[in-house]
């Protein structure tokens, strides 16, 4: 039982969102709702418009048309209130050069105008022993966990994670899933994009498929799979009770390696 099952209040509402870059239409009229306390996945191939959609909701890009409400605030009139209520992890974003993790947390606290102890934040993502390390010297998994720590500094109502597990090994990926679930269980809504369907299946409470700037389906992963099976779909290969990743985890252990 988690938070999502109890409340179905929309915390983000997107209506007919259109985003054009010059002549190119990246998002062509998308509508969806994200419920408070859920992990919501935006899935789709590269160039489908996932990141653009996220960045418009995150107030980083101007929309061409449409209506967006985030935690009750209109994106056109209340950008700053929204910024104070959300945490954002960007795909491939860097951090201020030459600072260690504790100093970066301190910087972000200042940007949010609040006082947060760096150690408290690093503890949330199990990085206290790296407080004096530079971001560039972290492993892939540590980098992502640190990025997530920076999204939590302002006690956000919603966090946005853009492909947080891309490039991570299976152990680091599972470790990050646990962290994301923990954040959700503490009442923070999570919006995530990913290319990995196995990840979306186990992690997301609901997913939306985006393709060519349109949403082509929104539901829970279970419903999507049940529907497909009910339509008569069968996998070509006989389904085994385990997959190769299970073998990998079984052989190499669950513990996450830094490095």
């Amino acid at each position: 039982m988690h938070f999502y099952a109890m409340a179905k209040q929309p915390i983000i509402t997107v209506k007919n969102l259109v985003k054009n870059y010059g002549d190119f239409a990246a998002v062509k009229g998308i509508s969806f709702e994200v419920y408070e306390g859920e992990i919501f996945g935006l899935l789709g191939p590269n160039g489908a418009g996932k990141t653009t959609t996220l960045e418009v909701i995150e107030t980083l890009r101007e929309k061409t048309s449409g209506e967006i409400t985030v935690d009750g605030f209109n994106i056109e009139t209340d950008k700053n209130s929204i910024k104070q209520r959300i945490g954002v992890q960007l795909q491939a974003a860097g951090y201020y050069p030459n600072l260690n993790l504790a100093e970066l947390i301190e910087l972000f606290s200042g940007l949010y105008g609040i006082d947060k102890s760096p150690m408290e934040m690093l503890e949330k993502v199990a990085l206290t022993d790296k407080a004096k390390a530079k971001y560039k010297d972290l492993s892939g998994g540590q980098k992502q966990r640190f990025s997530i720590a920076t999204t939590l500094i302002n006690n956000p109502r919603i966090i946005f994670l853009d492909e947080p597990t891309t490039g991570l090994d299976p152990q680091a990926r599972r470790n990050l899933w646990d962290l994301i679930r923990e954040i959700r269980d503490q009442g923070t809504t999570v919006v995530i994009t990913t290319h990995y369907m196995d990840e979306a299946e186990v992690l997301c409470d609901r997913v939306a498929f985006v393709d060519g700037g349109h949403i082509i389906g929104i539901d829970t992963p279970d419903h999507f799979i049940d529907q497909l099976v009910a339509s008569g779909f069968e996998r070509k290969k006989e389904v085994k009770l385990a997959n190769l990743e299970d073998v990998f985890i079984n052989l190499t252990g669950k513990e996450w390696r830094e490095g």
Binding site: V88, A93, Y95, Y96, P97, S109, G110, L111, Y112, G113
Partner: protein, 370 residues
């Protein structure tokens, strides 16, 4: 919810940026190391102005009063550690300017002085006049002795009266230090600002900042504040090292230092404007150095950093006088050496102000956030 504080955000950026600058080797090298190295090198080269290198011949009598007097002359550099053969060779090449030989003084005999000059050196004439000046005093003293015994007055052909008015010596350090200060501020402002804003843009640090409630002006102001603190601390350090180790003249002491720092700050604001322009037009980090050099090199060479602009041909002086660093350097020298106040350098400040307006008008057009 507590009201959002832009000041807090600005100061957080300033603090982060200041920490980063202190840890960046290139910032420290350009702002402190290079100017100090130039100061050390040039302060020693230019140190005493002109001097004549005089080889002392083997067997020269160095115990007599005449030799001691010559030794005490600042213009004369007596060389005693070369063999006769080397000395002759060096004289022929003009690497030493003359060879001097004094015979031991024999009572009632004239002092035997032989000097070899070299056509390879033009500075023999200086030694010649020093020696003549000394001979004049020796002969006058001899004459005075004779006069004491003789009732017959010999009329004086020349009555030499030499006095020196008190004044400040304009040392080379007084020229080179303000120039190096200007260079330090120029490179920190242009290179530093361009690099920081370009890399923050390319690595999406600024984009991540924009996902927080921070205002754009906080980012610019925070960065500028950090650079200002760093550059002014650097300037203060250069001034203090110059003053205490190389005797750089500070006419009104602390007031002069403060005036120089105000000028440095003004200069830095202008040069940061160039940095903003470059960060906007540079495509990647590789294009920052060439673009920055286009701004800094001509000023480095033509703005009186190493030698006075007046040494250039007239047409080049027009170019020099158009550059902002020239006027910053001039104002700096007037303040440091002539003891001018900021009110006395309004001409220079006005030209700098015009540059400020031009540079920021362009910067506003070219600066890019993403």
């Amino acid at each position: 919810m507590k009201k959002y504080s832009n000041t807090k955000a600005t100061l957080a950026i300033a603090k982060a940026s200041f920490r980063a600058i202190l840890r960046s080797p290139s910032a420290v090298v350009f702002t402190l190391a290079f100017p100090l190295i130039f100061i050390v090198v040039f302060a020693n080269i230019g140190g005493g102005g002109v001097s004549v290198d005089v080889g002392v011949a083997k067997g020269c009598d160095t115990s007599g009063r005449f030799y001691q007097q010559l030794k005490s002359r600042k213009l004369v550099n007596l060389i005693t550690d070369q063999s006769t053969e080397d000395m002759n060779k060096n004289l022929a090449k003009g690497q030493i300017d003359a060879i001097l030989d004094l015979k031991p003084l024999v009572p009632m005999q004239p002092l035997e002085v032989s000097v070899q000059y070299s056509k390879a050196s033009g500075k023999g004439e200086i030694l010649k006049s020093i020696l003549n000046n000394m001979f004049y005093y020796v002969q006058s003293a001899e004459l005075a002795k004779i006069q004491a015994y003789s009732p017959l007055k010999i009329p004086e052909a020349v009555h030499l009266k030499e006095t020196t008015v008190s004044g400040r010596a304009y040392k080379y350090i007084d020229f080179i230090l303000p120039g190096q200060l200007g260079f330090s501020i120029l490179s920190s402002g242009v290179f530093g600002t361009a690099f920081v804003f370009l890399s923050l843009r390319l690595t999406l640090v600024i984009k991540r900042f924009f996902a927080t409630p921070v205002k754009r002006y906080s980012i610019v102001l925070g960065e500028a504040l950090a650079r200002m603190c760093f550059s002014l601390l650097g300037a203060l350090f250069i001034i203090l090292v110059g003053h205490y180790l190389f005797g750089f003249t500070l006419i009104h002491g602390v007031v002069t230092v403060l005036n120089m720092l105000v000028l440095s700050a003004f200069g830095l604001i202008i040069f940061m404007g160039f940095g903003f322009i470059i960060s906007g037009i540079a495509k990647n980090e590789g294009t920052v150095p060439p673009l920055s050099n286009i701004i800094t090199m001509p000023q480095f060479l033509l703005s009186g950093t190493f030698f006075s602009v007046t040494a250039f041909p007239k047409w080049l002086q027009y170019v020099s006088n158009a550059l902002p660093l020239t006027h910053l350097n001039n104002a700096m020298r007037l303040v440091a050496f002539e003891g001018a106040g900021l009110g006395d350098v309004t001409h220079q400040l006005l030209i700098l102000l015009i540059w400020l307006v031009i540079v920021y008008a362009v910067a506003v057009k070219t600066f890019k956030w993403e």
